[in-house]
């Protein structure tokens, strides 16, 4: 059923009894053309494979329920304010897909271009932001430097006084950036892919890979074996463990936990996304009214979807330093997600590492905003056995070749990206 004002009205008059589930719950078939592991970026990948490459005999297998992984655990910011051209072109292409996503999917993903402002607290930091802004504008992305008065007008609660612990002296704004409703993105892609014939199989964990010599020919799952001409992996923080089941023991990845927080619901206080440059904090306000925010990863390898208190204290103290008026707001909940931190802080979209296999990983903690372009480029890679021009710099062999894409300039130290 196509969603429209008419369908809304018709169902309202009919007591809302005729709504159908947004996607089917099929049992896995014995064989598919493509099996995609992971119901996050994997859903977008399936959608683009079916829509743009005519491959519709696809299964997406997800070990939990849809939205239980990182695509439902993030802080929903969408931006393309990177420094390096490879990242700028890639994420700006993603931004363009976000702008039309609700119409393309016939599903309201509540994409809101409310702007992202990076606050600067020292002259050198403002210089670096100016450099990044200039680099963005050279590549056709909007960016503008703001002074403290403009920023105060944007977020009245901010402490811009010179007595602040880290006084705000300016900021870099990308107005086209913003947020989207993360669950709606999952459901929208699931519904659109399902309508194109993709089987979405939940509660189905891959336990091992079916192989013919080195070539991957399918997956063994908790719901039985599934043969496939091509197997694609997009499982974020669990990539190393999944690939070990295929016999790949080492990858340029470390798994780290990132915490996120939501406050009790407030009336509108922040209508943009802002980041604190004196430490690491980013925050926005959801349409329900909760402040959604997060900071650094905990800093050590972790597969536990929960974090430790030092980062909680750090994030809270930063928030209170920025907006003292919110000091007495109560925290509603916090949670952790497992990040696949790559060695240069940039993602990996690649053929291989085994014949018959395709890998999508290394999103660090920026994977949500890339969901559409990741799906589009990964689908291209799977269909054509070669990288999409936009994702060509992001292949796995870049580390060996020495072409790392290190936007923060931290070197091969995943916990610092």
């Amino acid at each position: 059923m196509r969603y429209s004002a008419f369908s809304l009205l018709k169902n309202a008059l009919n007591g809302n009894k005729d709504w159908k589930p947004a996607w089917r719950k099929p049992d896995p078939k014995s064989a598919y053309d493509v099996v995609i592991i992971g119901g996050g970026h994997g859903l977008a990948t399936a959608y683009y494979l079916a829509k743009e490459h005519g491959i519709r005999n696809i299964a997406v297998v997800e070990k939990g329920w849809l939205g239980s992984g990182n695509i439902g655990r993030n802080t929903t910011a969408i931006r393309s304010n990177y420094l390096l051209s490879e990242n700028q072109h890639f994420y700006e292409a993603s931004m363009k897909l976000w702008e039309t996503m609700s119409h393309d999917l016939n599903y309201n993903v509540m994409f809101s271009q409310r702007g992202v402002v990076n606050l600067a607290h020292s002259l050198p930091q403002l210089d670096i932001y100016a450099r990044r802004g200039n680099q963005m504008r050279l590549n056709g992305i909007d960016a503008e430097l703001m002074n403290p008065a403009q920023i105060k007008k944007l977020i009245p609660g901010l402490d811009i006084s010179s007595s602040a612990r880290f006084p705000i002296i300016g900021g870099l704004m990308q107005r086209s950036a913003g947020t989207a409703r993360h669950d709606a993105v999952v459901w929208g892609y699931a519904r659109a892919a399902d309508q194109l014939g993709v089987d979405i199989i939940e509660n189905c964990e891959v336990t091992s890979f079916l192989k013919d010599g080195d070539t991957v020919t399918g997956v063994m799952t908790t719901r039985g074996p599934i043969n496939a001409k091509k197997v694609a992996c997009a499982v974020a923080g669990n990539t190393s463990e999944l690939m070990r089941r295929a016999g790949i023991d080492r990858l340029p990845l470390e798994s780290h936990v990132l915490q996120a927080f939501v406050s009790e619901a407030l009336k509108p206080v922040v209508d943009t996304v802002a980041t604190f440059g004196g430490g690491h904090l980013y925050f926005s306000q959801s349409d329900k009214g909760g402040l959604v925010f997060g900071g650094d990863i905990d800093g050590y390898n972790s597969y536990a979807q929960r974090g430790n208190l030092p980062v909680v204290e750090d994030v809270m103290s930063e928030f209170v330093a920025l907006i003292p008026a919110l000091a007495r707001v109560k925290l509603l909940r916090s949670w952790g997600g497992i990040m696949d931190m790559s060695m240069d802080g940039s993602p990996i979209i690649t053929t291989g590492p085994l014949p018959g296999m395709y890998l999508n990983t290394g999103w660090c903690y920026g994977g949500f905003k890339a969901t559409p372009i990741s799906g589009k480029c990964f689908a291209w890679t799977i269909a054509k056995n070669e990288p999409h021009p936009l994702s060509a710099p992001f292949t796995l062999d870049r580390f060996y070749r020495g072409y790392v894409i290190d936007d923060k300039g931290q070197g091969p130290t995943p916990r610092l990206h």
């Binding site: 669990n238 990858l251 470390e254 390898n301 091969p412």
Partner: protein, 91 residues
């Protein structure tokens, strides 16, 4: 998370700095073998269970430590001085 420092006793994780995977072996600095260096610099086992890793007790005795920790539960099974670990040949 509490790490039991062999010198200071049990201390909160905030006193420590993580320094990464301790199972890697630095190649001979004179080596020009790209495979060996690539493996050392970039490739990690990244297990979900037992992991041997370097920590620095910067907020305490300032010793470098080798901690063996379950990555999924944060249960720590051993903490030793890094120098002892290195002198024992990384075992």
């Amino acid at each position: 998370m509490i790490i039991k420092c062999p010198y200071c006793g049990p201390r909160d994780v905030i006193e420590f700095t993580y320094q990464g995977d301790a199972t890697r072996t630095r190649p001979n600095p004179a080596s020009t073998d790209q495979d060996t260096w690539n493996a050392y610099v970039y490739d990690r086992s990244n297990p979900a269970k037992s992991h041997r890793e370097f920590w620095l007790h910067g907020g305490g005795c300032r010793q470098h430590l080798v901690v063996t920790r379950d990555i999924s539960t944060h249960i720590i099974s051993s903490v030793v001085y890094a120098r002892d670990y290195i002198h024992a040949g990384g075992k």
